[in-house]
Amino acid sequence: MKLEKDPAAYLIRSEPARRVLLALREGGPRRPSEVRRSLPGMHPQILKETVDHLATLGLARLRVPPGSRSETTRRGVTLPVILEITHRGHAVLDHLDHYRALVRRDRALLPPATVERWLEA
């Protein structure tokens, strides 16, 4: 998967990313399976790639709950994990709302490159 480095541009382009991040914001920290259940129709591989990308961009975070039990296998050490939105995730989502308001006001559909320039300004 090609990594897109601009969190806001990624969220604007990726509907799954927006859905996952909104689910985390509205539902609070929770297990990945709970996120999946709250997003019917999203393919598991898409969800995995999206979570991975959101975490790599600092929009979401993995957390191992205290008191968890681990397991060592040939693959490595496995730890239970929950997902949560980060402060940056909240901030970028808020930024997107602002951007959408601008687009509605101007009734303009801008090409992605222009959107990126806007967001960088």
């Binding site: 990594l3 480095k5 297990r31 990945p32 399976s33 999946r36 598991p44 969800l47 995995k48 979570v51 991975d52 975490a55 790599t56 961009l57 600092g58 975070r61 993995l62 957390r63 191992v64 709950p65 205290p66 008191g67 968890s68 039990r69 681990s70 060592t72 040939r74 693959r75 490595g76 050490v77 496995t78 730890l79 239970p80 994990v81 929950i82 980060t86 402060h87 940056r88």
Partner: protein, 186 residues
């Protein structure tokens, strides 16, 4: 903001020397002597630069190797002194691919011992893992630390303490994540 002790490896594995962007050297604390040879930056240099970036953001941060030794203090004694120096000390773990993890395992082992004794109960441990160090297993609500062949006992202890895990794909993202976590409200 609570102070931060930056843990992590010192050097790359033998024969490995991943390219680390030279731009991060601007964050190295004044007087820091780079350990990497031939213009390369070692993991300990990256940790020092992360400390510099955190300090620039107003966070009281340090790494063990940057603190002066006291008399005949042993390495273990120095580590124990540092982790006990502040009751609100947070532990950030820089975890890149292709690093020699012996030093990190040693540090995690000592942290584990103190956690077990409840001397560090409730402290924040925050892991910054390069993409590939951990693998998400969303079907089973798990994350896998893919460090087979190493002493993994202390990784397992992470589970009992609880920790946050941020992923990063490049050094720009790493620095952004570390500073964001360091300056975030509790």
């Amino acid at each position: 903001m609570s102070p931060v002790l930056l843990l992590g490896p010192t050097r790359w594995r033998a024969g490995r020397s991943p390219a680390v962007p030279e731009e991060i050297a601007k964050f190295l604390p004044p007087g820091w002597k780079r350990r990497g040879a031939r213009g390369r930056l070692w993991p300990i240099d990256v940790r020092a630069a992360l400390v510099g970036a955190l300090r620039s953001a107003g966070v009281d941060a340090t790494l063990m190797e940057a603190e002066p030794d006291r008399g005949t203090e042993t390495r273990t004694g120095k580590f124990a002194r540092l982790v006990s120096s502040r009751r609100d000390l947070r532990f950030f773990v820089f975890w890149p691919l292709r690093a020699n993890l012996a030093g990190l395992v040693w540090e995690l082992g000592h942290l584990a011992g103190r956690m077990e004794e409840s001397r560090l109960a409730g402290r924040q441990v925050h892991v910054f893992a390069e993409r590939g160090v951990v693998e998400l297993d969303l079907d089973h609500d798990r994350v896998v630390f893919r460090e087979t062949g190493h002493r993994t006992t202390y990784f397992e202890d992470l589970a009992r303490w609880g920790c946050a895990i941020d992923l990063w794909a490049d050094y720009e993202a790493l620095f952004e994540s570390v500073v964001a976590a360091g300056t975030a409200p509790p």
